[in-house]
């Protein structure tokens, strides 16, 4: 009775000791965490104090910066204009007021510092902002001069990481659950097998004798002997073979659902869906050419010169922000863009996009006829492109599919005066009010095959 008690005491003492040791070793870490948690607020308080001295409001400055300056300036990266963080410490405040309100006038007045700055930045003219008051500019400078919030991005980075880990854990646990279920099922099967075996053995040991089933004619022999059944079965087999054979033959050369991996993961969902960029923006030749056109990389660069990374909320469970940023870097590499110095290096390499929609050589198809003349939405043939992260072929692109649409679609005759007479005669001939493409000769072989 005694021994366990002393043991327990000893145990408790040990526990306490161990606890303390851990706490001591953890104390610096805890302190660090504590510091890190509050360091952001400390920073912002500092910044606020500074700004109070300079008379600037950070929030108002941020709004003004985004509305007026952000088109050309970023805080920590060179864009059209130089990076702006800490610019308030580099120059005299009054001079900055003058520069921002009208830099050209300042340069013209012969200010040495202004001329030097102008020449350093390739003589790019900064837009004048006469509407900004001194207070406005002080607000902007207060926003711009905030120290770079180091811990905040770290925390922000950690939070999504945790989030992805948690969500990743979610998907992992899903597969785990399924795996566990499968394992349990397998175990059950094995157990059942073992149980029957043991039962059998017990039965044998106890001298229980099974009645062996009397062997009649095997089923396949009975089947062969019944000639009618064989005939029916053969006919059925032939029909089934014909049906499936025909189905298989008909899908040869049809690439519906084809979704190859592209050299650069370009998401139509982000561009055409979330950001609602019109299809014709990039595929501009669809309006006036046979081809819808793969946009040349300068079209990408019209926007991506400015957008070098995706917003954190663009990332999905499947594709992380790092992944998307990497894809933008692939674009920069292909087009030869040096993001650091904001200039083209001249070293380009072709991007080998994989063509998805491809008609056989013996078919003629013209995009402009369908897009501009008929005014058909791209989605009619290409599916809900704006929702596709990876584009796949939506339509079968078979002749039957083309013909069907030509038979069913009415042509808009309203604004086409040039053909008014022939339209009228055709309507009379077919006794219809609205003409389909087929009725206007859209099914003639020569329209698409030549």
């Amino acid at each position: 009775m005694h021994i366990p008690v002393t043991n327990k005491k000893l145990y408790n003492q040990q526990m306490k000791k161990v606890n303390f040791i851990h706490l001591r070793s953890k104390l610096p870490l805890l302190l660090l965490v504590f510091l890190l948690t509050f360091s952001t607020t400390i920073y912002s308080q500092d910044a606020a104090a500074d700004n109070a001295a300079a008379g600037g409001d950070v929030a108002a400055g941020e709004a003004l910066f985004k509305a007026n300056c952000a088109a050309c300036h970023k805080l920590d990266k060179k864009a059209v204009g130089p990076a702006l963080r800490g610019v308030g410490d580099k120059f005299d405040r009054d001079w900055l007021h003058k520069w921002i309100r009208n830099s050209q006038a300042l340069i013209a007045s012969g200010d040495a510092q202004a001329i030097k700055l102008f020449e350093e930045n390739n003589k790019a003219i900064m837009t004048a902002f006469p509407a900004l008051s001194d207070a406005d500019i002080d607000d902007i400078l207060a926003y711009v001069d905030q120290p770079k919030a180091e811990p905040a991005p770290a925390a922000a980075g950690a939070a999504p990481a945790d989030g992805t880990a948690a969500s990743g854990g979610g998907s992992v646990s899903n597969t785990l659950v399924i795996g566990a279920l499968a394992l349990i099922f397998l175990l059950l099967v094995i157990m059942l097998y073992l149980v029957t075996n043991t039962l059998k053995r017990i039965a044998e040991a106890n001298g229980v004798v099974y009645e062996e089933k009397e062997k009649g004619t095997p089923i396949w022999k009975a089947f062969v002997q019944n000639q009618f059944l064989v005939l029916v079965f053969t006919v059925f087999l032939l029909l089934a073979a014909a049906y499936f054979g025909f189905g298989y033959m008909m899908q040869v050369g049809v690439d519906q659902g084809y979704a190859p991996v592209q050299p650069i993961h370009y998401s139509h969902k982000i561009h055409a869906g979330d950001n609602q960029i019109d299809c014709n923006f990039c595929h501009s030749s669809a309006r006036k050419s046979k081809h819808s056109g793969i946009p040349s990389l300068n079209v990408c660069m019209n926007c991506h010169k400015n957008i070098s990374e995706v917003a954190p909320e663009t990332a999905t469970e499947e594709y992380s922000k790092e992944f998307y940023d990497g894809e933008i870097q692939k674009l920069y590499k292909a087009v030869g863009w040096d993001a650091e110095n904001q200039e083209y290096t001249g070293k380009t390499e072709p991007v080998k996009w994989v063509r998805i929609h491809n008609l056989p050589d013996f078919v003629y198809f013209n995009h402009s006829q369908h897009v501009t003349v008929a005014g058909i939405a791209c989605q009619t043939c290409h599916g809900e492109i704006q929702e596709m992260e990876v584009v796949e072929q939506f339509a079968p692109l078979t002749m039957g599919w083309c013909i069907n649409c030509h038979r069913e679609t009415n042509v808009n005759l309203a604004t086409n005066e040039y053909y008014a007479k022939i339209h009228e005669e055709l309507s009379k001939k077919y006794g219809v009010e609205k003409l389909t493409i087929a009725e206007m000769g859209g099914l003639e072989c020569g329209k698409c095959h030549y």
Binding site: G257, P260, S284, N302, P350
Partner: protein, 219 residues
């Protein structure tokens, strides 16, 4: 035991059948030599071209068909000159303005907004920041400048010369000026068009165009 083996065979067979369907690869073709073109296809990959790329920029010292010369260079000076000197070479008609409006919705409205107030979807989603309104006090938005910026781009805006033709750029310019007028509460471009159109029709080349257009009408 036999049934077990049978089931196993069935599972393996269906698995192989399913795994044969691969959406990363194109399907088989009956007669590839009828499907694949003999000539060089647009965007094709052929060894005789530099970088094996059929798509190329025009060779030096050549002009594409329908090319129109543009005399102002891509510089601040060029922009200032274009702002002062350039005017519409096409008459301001309802047709041109509405065509411009359509093109504007496709190419410009994502950033500049449907009303030209700089609040397009890319601006509201903060992908692009600091897009000014056409009625902004610090900027002089005039037809020549609008056209020049479409050709060369300015600051964060890129060149749209590859996507819209010369005439389309002028049509967009008309719509932009129309938007600016409506933002400022001034009468629209069609109402003030007469004076401009008179000066355009006095240009010899446009007279020709007007004559041919009227001939077509008669026919």
């Amino acid at each position: 035991m036999k049934t077990l083996i049978n089931i196993g065979i069935a599972i393996i067979a269906s698995a192989t059948l399913v795994s044969c369907f691969n959406d990363k690869k194109p399907n088989y073709q009956y007669f590839p030599n009828m499907y694949e073109p003999v000539g060089y296809e647009t965007y094709g990959e052929y060894r005789i071209f530099p970088d094996e790329q059929e798509a190329m920029v025009p060779p030096d010292n050549t002009l594409s068909r329908g090319h129109t010369a543009y005399d102002y260079e891509n510089s601040t000076d060029g922009l200032l000159r274009a702002k002062q000197e350039l005017t519409y070479p096409y008459p301001i008609t309802e047709e041109n303005v509405s065509a411009g409006a359509q093109l504007y919705t496709v190419y410009c409205a994502v950033c500049h907004g449907d009303k030209g107030d700089g609040k397009g979807i890319l601006a509201t989603r903060e992908k692009f920041l600091g897009i000014p309104s056409y009625a902004d006090a610090g900027r002089t938005i005039v037809p020549g400048g609008v056209y020049h910026v479409q050709v060369y781009g300015l600051n964060a805006m890129g060149s749209y010369a590859a996507q819209v033709s010369e005439k389309e750029r002028w049509q967009i310019t008309m719509h932009v000026m129309d938007l600016k007028a409506s933002l400022k509460g001034e009468p629209g471009i069609l109402e003030t068009a007469e004076a401009i159109n008179d000066s355009i029709s006095s240009l010899p080349e446009n007279k020709m165009e007007a004559v041919t257009a009227s001939q077509v009408d008669k026919k």
